[in-house]
Symmetry: C2
Subunit: 208 residues, 2 copies
């Protein structure tokens, strides 16, 4: 990814938070049939990432154990009008751009058909997201009939991604003045883009 210094996200906590808060990744791999991507919620698991695909998904046959994958996580994004830069009224030296925050995980995938790995992948995913949505009323795997769950576990394949490198990019007008950054945050809020507006206010401070 083209990632100039002023847009490179250096804050590791921010990178982890983006993946935690936006877990649906585009998991990309090269296959014999060309570039392929599947959209899957990934979970941080120690140094790696855990997930699962449907057994019917050919990805686990087309992408070999140890093959490189790229997981793309994306947070808020939006069009930026030059009209939102206060400096534009003075210099007119402004053009449109697009702001966004993304994290790219480059790693190697390993598949597992072992029931314990599949059960763990599903249980951790459920625990993470059910608690956030339903708190004390969170659904638990034990709420479903055992034979129903066994049947479903038979229809998935777990995987682990070992990380080679993680890159974060926060493209938030850090190459402009604080006044321009604030103007864009306001403009985005006016468009109803609360997520990116909040990111601009939090992380869009001018660099260098």
């Amino acid at each position: 990814m083209y990632n100039p210094a002023h847009f490179t996200e250096a804050d590791q906590a921010q990178i982890e938070a983006l993946m935690h808060d936006n877990p649906l990744a585009a998991l990309v791999a090269m296959t014999g049939g060309g570039l392929d991507a599947n959209h899957l919620p990934l979970l941080r698991d120690g140094e790696g990432f855990l997930g699962h695909v449907a057994l019917a998904n050919p990805m686990h046959e087309q992408v070999a154990d140890g093959a490189p994958v790229l997981a793309i996580f994306r947070a808020g994004q939006g069009y930026v009008s030059p009209n939102w830069y206060p400096s534009k009224a003075e210099t007119h030296k402004a053009v449109p751009t697009w702001n966004y925050q993304v994290v790219h995980v480059h790693g190697r995938i390993t598949w597992s058909h072992a029931e314990k790995d599949k059960r763990r992948a599903v249980a951790l995913l459920t625990a993470r997201h059910e608690k956030a949505v339903n708190g004390a009323q969170a659904w638990k795997m034990g709420d479903a009939p055992a034979d129903f769950l066994d049947d479903l576990l038979g229809k998935i394949v777990a995987f682990l991604i070992e990380v080679d490198r993680i890159e974060g990019k926060s493209k938030l007008n850090q190459n402009r003045s604080a006044a321009d950054v604030a103007g864009v945050a306001e403009g985005l809020a006016g468009q109803g883009n609360a997520a990116l507006s909040a990111a601009m206010r939090r992380d869009g401070a001018p660099k260098g």
Copy 2:
């Protein structure tokens, strides 16, 4: 992409609308350095897609003219709790899932350093997005000093993607009952996920 029949988006107008409304694509290619992705707003241009990258972005050197690329567009997405299915209270046969709508464009890229192509890519992008944001007050390229624009045009590379195939996937619980679909739409609305909730109400009708 794994895309079972009940999730395959068959409505071409819906596919075009998703790309129009969510133009920031992850543009993926294989390079000598491995899988690479850049996040770029793409524009429908006749049968293909138009875009541009920074001249400093090595993608235009690492990905040759005619090389395959995958452009991933994503609309609303979110976690789905089994608690939201009315049928769950009766059968308990439900587990969590993730819903989303995506479009994958597989094609071949061609780069252009010609000023007319660069100017066209930028002008069309600006016209499309400025009008949506600012209406009659839309910023126009002519608002910026000519030498400033010439300088910026010298720092970008335009590209065109010729399409091999386009795949749409709308994963919206079409494999469940109308009551379950309505329950998920309501649950998502309760989470503040208006985009996916609206998509469920519009496109989540049970299939086959």
